[in-house]
Symmetry: C2
Subunit: 220 residues, 2 copies
Amino acid sequence: MISESSKRRISESTIHRLSLYYRLLSVLEKESKETVSSKELAEREKLTPAQVRKDLSFFGSFGTRGLGYPVSELKRRIGEILGLDRQWSVALIGVGNIGSALVGYKEFQRQGFNIKLIFDNDQRKIGSNHKGIVVADIKNLEKELRENKIEIVVIAVPATVAQYIVDDVVKAGIKAILNFAPVNLKVPEDVFLRNENMSMELEYLSFALVNLFNGRGTNR
Amino acid sequence: MISESSKRRISESTIHRLSLYYRLLSVLEKESKETVSSKELAEREKLTPAQVRKDLSFFGSFGTRGLGYPVSELKRRIGEILGLDRQWSVALIGVGNIGSALVGYKEFQRQGFNIKLIFDNDQRKIGSNHKGIVVADIKNLEKELRENKIEIVVIAVPATVAQYIVDDVVKAGIKAILNFAPVNLKVPEDVFLRNENMSMELEYLSFALVNLFNGRGTNR
């Protein structure tokens, strides 16, 4: 068990690294590997072993010196803290280019994020079928979100209307929102909002090309 | 100027925070704001002022105690280190759901990432026009990448073929690759590879709902 105070100390970048470890451990589990050392995890993720040990120390002292961590057990514990040991009901708002891509993104479902509802305001899209889900009218947003016990909402609408949409989503009692619109949205303090910015990784690459390039790359 | 040794000490998460500051400074610049304090930057990005000052200390001592940082100058310097003060020639491989969404993603162009070439292996897609770019045959990949002096390649092909594609991209001399396929790709040490994983932010949200939810959110 992780104490409440430890949980609050877990930083955003630690959580992202836990996501990466979880993926790597899933691969190792498939390869029937039973244990993994902090050194090995570090090498695969281009981190220092000390960083890996620090990240995993949140889970208390487990892992055996010289033997490393038990793969399945570590994966299970990280999955638990990331909430990947359960299924989540997700609604998608906006089924343009990015929205359509997200409906087909198998990784979501694999991690337990199930798109249950899709909304749009375009009459030509409402009623159409996307991977088995019939696109609903945005007019019924609040009612549908409540009735279907949606827990997470993904916003993939144009930047100009995103704030209006997010206000309605908040009114429906949703506490977790992932925003793909390139705009800073305002939400109340009790709502978790994350912004997905697809150009951020490109900026890392341009940074690397400008500053780090001397015949060696750095991958993750 | 930033020293070579400083550049090497800049961590991945610092670079991501620089991207966030850059965006925020662009907004402040539009609002004709002349200076901004580390406290203000910290509040907007939900960081500590000490963290902001540490990140910006890479740029040497500028910013005035009591007055803060000059907005346009700080934006310019961050843009410079992120390589956003110039244009980049980008090629996209794979024009399925995610690829199509990326072609229409205006944020790329706004940051100087210009998609110049699009490749696919599907005969029905080759020759078709996507936002003014005619889809090229993947067979001519190496030749076209070289002739068009492409600097960054974005991979949006199915996981099963991604490694073959990336091998050809590397053969063409490309040193920076952004991968959307949900698979760990192998590249030589001298190539920068980044993986875009769109479910990572959802995992942050599920983490937050499971662990942090007590009536207060945490946004960025």
